[in-house]
Structure formats: structure tokens, C-alpha cells
Symmetry: C2
Subunit: 380 residues, 2 copies
């Protein structure tokens, strides 16, 4: 975790079959290198708030119809990049592809969330679990390659996976949950089974992310969406340790280019000090975290990504600009020198809401770019 890796410049490499990156602001900020402005992308940016996404989804017939079809996945991943001058694209996929490949039988009932036909709730079910054949996830890797080509170097492409704990929650609960009773019951009463699931998940996620990197992903992000439901102590043992196990196996570079690794634990603000010890480049933060305090705690080791409340986008343009100012000034001015130093990647604190007016996003992106350029300009 020294500066050694991070200090290396992300130079274009001859061996890459892809077009050179025209906008490397996001990658540079991930690696704690100075940038002219603060890059921005948004979690769930390829999503229902965009009318063109809704049209694609109607054509595809379903969410998984989009995710499993290379052309559709490419189409919707590029939609926000075409509409807004954002600084990164993120693979359109679902976080539950890995347990689905394990044979748990993922489906999406209309108007409800994801559901597994075969949840993992007892010793026999755990005994049957194994790291899935990555060939079953070929549709994801094909989508990555297709998107990377279609982007043609405009902005970098982020690959992603759910964290071992977050996947485990869904695998045990069999669906989303508002109390996590089943998975927590297993965790407290049969920690041996829980650890077994998490080991398999961690090794699966590592293979999955490596395959995305080989397919063309230029950064990867681990979404620990449910780490924040754990008690202090349990988080470290059942979530953080397995995120670390993933990171120990995931590539740090590919074809001569550094591959930034991002970890986002929703509700994980209390554990920032411990997350600062992870072998990753960037920590994602939700809106409850004060960026200035986070910078003081982990800013010497990690870039920080976040953290506007997505609901601020329901205000008017002037108010959105004021909220952008609050987030940018909370982090403070990123470093502008050579080498590495504190950097910030603007994002929402969680996925963008489906009812968000697209015009608000245009205001947001412009405000982040303009204000953050000004912050870097010394007053004369």
C-alpha cells in the first residue's frame, strides 16, 4: 500500500487492442494523480431515469434481457455517456450474476426485486456451493469487450461486482430484505456456514473481476451495498475480511495499464479507518460521511469517491449548484502537483433515483466540472 504502485503513470500501451483513452481524468483521480477538474460519474447512471433507457428496456422485455444481450448492454451503458459529459462509463449488469451462475436461479418478478429459486439456507445447500465456471458469465465479459470497443476511448469503462457479504445476503435471504433476519441468523448461529459461503463468494468475485479486466474493464468496483447492516465487529469479520480476500486476488494492472480498484460500503462510514487499510485505490462514500473528515482519516492512502445525496437532484438548478459546492468544499481542493496526493471523484452517495429529472443531471455534471476547475485556479 505504499506510493510505489500509485505513482506510476497510466501511460497508453502499444499492446492494447483498443483506442487510446481520450479522457483519463477518472483514472488519474483514482490513482491519486492531479487532474484539471474533479471527474464525475453516477452510480446507476445507465438506468430508468433516462427515457432512452426505458425505451431499450421495453425492447429487451426485461432487465436481464438487457444485461444478457451484448448489444443492449452496450447500448444502455453508452446512453448516459452520450447525453452527459461524464468521465466514466460503468458496465450495465446486475450484482447477482455470480450467484446465478452458481445455480441459484435468479429471476425478476414484475414490480418486485430479484429472487432466487434456490436460496442457500442450510448445511446441504452450502455443501453444494462452488466457484462457478466463468463460462456461464461469458455474456458479461462479452458485454465488457463490446462496450469498451463502442466507447472508442472516450472515457474509461468500470467493471464491477457485489461484495462477498452482499452476495451472501441475497443468497441466504433468497431476495432483498429489510431486516436481514435469515442471513444474520445464519451468521450468529452458524458462523462456520457463513464463512464457507463468503470464502466461495470471495474467490468467485475475484475470478469474475479478473475476467472483466481481461475483457476490457479499465477499473473495477466492489459494491458492498449491505455491509452497513452489520454490527461493529461482525462487519470486520464477515464483510471487510472477504473484500480483502477479493482484493488479494484481483489484478492491479493489465496490458501495462494500472487498473484502479474501488470499494464502496454503503453505511460504512464508521469503519473508514479500517477500510483505509484495504489494498485498493479508491473508497466510495455515501452521503452521511463528511468528506473532509474522511480525507483526514484515509486521504493519505486512498482517493475518495462520492457523495451527493441523490435526492438533492430533485431541487432546482441553483440549489443543485449549491449542494455541489458543499460537497466539493467539504473535500477541499485536491492536490495539483506532480506525484500523488489527495484526489476526489464526484459521485452520488448511492444510485440515482429513477424519478430524477435528466436535466438535473446535466446541471450537476456542469456544476462539478466548472466549480472544481475554479477551485484549482489560484486567486490572482
Amino acid at each position: 500500500m505504499g506510493c510505489g504502485d500509485n505513482c506510476r503513470m497510466n501511460t497508453p500501451v502499444q499492446t492494447s487492442p483498443y483506442a487510446p483513452l481520450q479522457n483519463d481524468t477518472f483514472i488519474r483521480a483514482c490513482l491519486r494523480q492531479a487532474t484539471d477538474y474533479t471527474p464525475i460519474w453516477m452510480m446507476r447512471q445507465a438506468g430508468r431515469f433516462l427515457p432512452e433507457y426505458r425505451a431499450s428496456r421495453a425492447k429487451a422485455g426485461s432487465f436481464m434481457g438487457l444485461a444478457t444481450n451484448t448489444d443492449y448492454a452496450t447500448e444502455v451503458t453508452l446512453q448516459p455517456v452520450d447525453r452527459f459529459p461524464i468521465d466514466a462509463a460503468i458496465l450495465f449488469s446486475d450484482i447477482l450474476t455470480v450467484p446465478d451462475a452458481m445455480g441459484l436461479g435468479l429471476s425478476f418478478a414484475l414490480g418486485e426485486g430479484p429472487k432466487f429459486a434456490h436460496p442457500v439456507r442450510d448445511e446441504a445447500a452450502v455443501a453444494k456451493l462452488a466457484v462457478p465456471d466463468m463460462d456461464k458469465l461469458r455474456y458479461v465479459f462479452d458485454a465488457v469487450t463490446s462496450i469498451r470497443k463502442a466507447l472508442n476511448g472516450r472515457v474509461p469503462l468500470i467493471g464491477f461486482s457485489g461484495s462477498p457479504w452482499t452476495l451472501g445476503c441475497y443468497m441466504v435471504e433468497g431476495a432483498g430484505s429489510d431486516d436481514y433476519r435469515l442471513v444474520k441468523t445464519m451468521m450468529y448461529s452458524r458462523p462456520d456456514l457463513m464463512h464457507k459461503i463468503l470464502q466461495i463468494n470471495a474467490d468467485s468475485v475475484a475470478q469474475y473481476l479478473n475476467a472483466q479486466i481481461e475483457a476490457g474493464a479499465q477499473a473495477v468496483m466492489i459494491f458492498d451495498s449491505w455491509g452497513g447492516v452489520l454490527a461493529d465487529g461482525a462487519f470486520q469479520e464477515f464483510s471487510l475480511a472477504y473484500t480483502a480476500r477479493v482484493l488479494a486476488q484481483v489484478k492491479k494492472e493489465h496490458n501495462g495499464a494500472r487498473i484502479p480498484r474501488i470499494v464502496f460500503t454503503k453505511g460504512g462510514g464508521l469503519w473508514l479507518e479500517e477500510m483505509g487499510q484495504l489494498d485498493c485505490d479508491v473508497l466510495g462514500l455515501d452521503w452521511t460521511v463528511n468528506l473532509g473528515k474522511a480525507r483526514a482519516v484515509v486521504g493519505q492512502h486512498k482517493a475518495l469517491q462520492g457523495n451527493l445525496d441523490p435526492y438533492a437532484l430533485f431541487a432546482n438548478p441553483t440549489q443543485i449548484e449549491a449542494e455541489v459546492t458543499k460537497v466539493l468544499t467539504s473535500f477541499g481542493t485536491p492536490h495539483t502537483g506532480t506525484g500523488t496526493g489527495p484526489t476526489h471523484i464526484f459521485n452520488l452517495g448511492h444510485g440515482i433515483n429513477q424519478h430524477t429529472p435528466p436535466d438535473s443531471v446535466a446541471v450537476l455534471v456542469q456544476a462539478v466540472h466548472e466549480q472544481s476547475r475554479k477551485m484549482r485556479t489560484p486567486l490572482v
Copy 2:
């Protein structure tokens, strides 16, 4: 917020019409006075996990049928006290009684949560809001007096209210929510309306808690159940400031006895330092908080209450005892001297789950009492 008030002993007073308190462990711990063991009570302890509660509710016909009937409210409040040697009772009521008294029309649809017929979503609705006539809440105060008499001094009775922000969430959303889009939209786009609602809520809650104290409540607790959904900055402005406004108006003593004031913000662990400045006696903590760190941050000013994950009660007795040990040792040994010092009130980090086996609660209470007595015994 100096030691002056807290240092005063909670001596029984001749003017009280009630039986003297036989077990004042909870009150003493709230006031940071030494106790022989760590007192325990549980949020939502009068609830569905108890078969006798379910029988009472069946008789009453509905949740509000229980809460609005003095005899039923008394009966269910005493049920957990009769079954377990817990150290406090808490009024059986709902957090939405105050907005209901404002005329919002509270109802509970079968199998769903609470719902308001007249949510507060625009300027006209806000203009109509006012502090309600406390006579409309007479049923609550009558229940408090009845329960206090029925307890006959066995353990103290805690009164409570939702926080101004938490009430505001329900008032704007019109029901529970999983994203708080409507209330956050108002907060970001019409902060003037939000502030107006919160001012009225704060003054209403203060009157409501004072009336509970006059009716016999021996401690009061403010449940800021939804403070944790706010962004850093917004929490301080829209939740904490109004909790402070309540506290500025709520009695600190009654009939010569100190009335401890407890504030619990679910998901508020990141703001402990600021919450430590509140003019209250106790901070409640959910399970994500490390009690040792919390003690270091606010333990010089406040007693701490919490914070076992309620789902730990789904484990076996030996495992429950081990989880109790973790929580107690995380806080560390409370002070045992004269005057005031660090104290801990054991609780769950949130309400007990309806599926919890009652026998697990018996194990929990015994483990807390026994282990915490031993912690205070110097090794010979």
C-alpha cells in the same frame, strides 16, 4: 452541560403520589451514577415477540386499539416486566400520535405500516399545521399514569416521542418509505417549508414529553429513527437542531426527581461528537457503533445505551452470552465510585424482532446482569 445537574442524587421525594422506586438502577445509570450491575431494557419490549402481547392485541382488535385504551396499554407495558427481570418499562404507544393529533388522520392498514390520510406536502398543508391541543393526546397521558401506578415502583417508566425530523418524514411521505424521496425533495427544494414543519413538531414534542412527565414518566426518550438517512450537514440542520429545540423545553426534573432524557438516532454513529453536545443525559446507539470508541468520544458527558444486534437473539444461549460479553467489554467497566462517571445501559441496537424466541431474551437479561456484576468485582 456541566456535572452540576447530573451529580444530584435521585432521592425519593415526599410529594410524589406514587410508590417509591424499588429498582433505580436504570435511573442511576442514566445519570452516570455507579450501579451494581448494568441495567437492561429493550426497545419494543412490549411487542409481538411475546405470546401474551399477541393475545392482548387480538382482544383489542388493532394496534391503536391497544394504544388508545388505558387498560390495554397498561397490560401490555407490564408484560415484559412480569416475564423478565428488566430494569425499566417503556410506555406502550406509537410514535405517530402527535401528527395524528394535528389532524393528519393516522390509520394502520392490515399487514401494512402506518398511513396518514392527509400528508403534508405543500405550502397550504404546512400553513394549516399547528401544535395540537394536548387534550387530544389525553389517552397517552392517562396510560402513563395508569402504568406508573400499576408498576407500583418495581422499575421506572420511560415516556417517549418520535423526533421532529422522524415525525416530519412520516408527515410528508404519508407513510413509511424506503427512500424518503418526498420529504427529501421538500427539504432540498423548499427548506423553508421543512423548517416550519420541524419547528411545529419540536414545540409539539416538547409539550407532549412534558405532559408525559407530569403524568408520571420517570425518564423520556426521543426516537430519531430516521435521522440516519440524512446527508452530513442536513442531519445537523434538519434533525439535530430540532432535537436540541425539544430538549431546551423539556423538564429536567419533576416533583424533585431528576428526569433523564435519552436521545437515540438510528444510523447516527458518525455524528456522535455533535450529539455529545446535546443537553441530554443518555445517547442511544445502534449496533454499528463501537461502544469503546463512543465512550472515548462522548463518555465524559453522557451515559451510553445500546447496542446488541437484535438478530443475535436468534443464536443459541452460549452464543448469545458470548455476544453479551462482546458488547459489555466493548464499553468496558463502568465507573464504581461516588459522583458521576462512565455508565452503560444495555439495550438492543434497535427494536426487538417479532420472531425472537422469548427464551432468548431470558438468556440475554440474565447474561447482562451476571456478567456485568462480575465485571465490577475486582479480582482478588
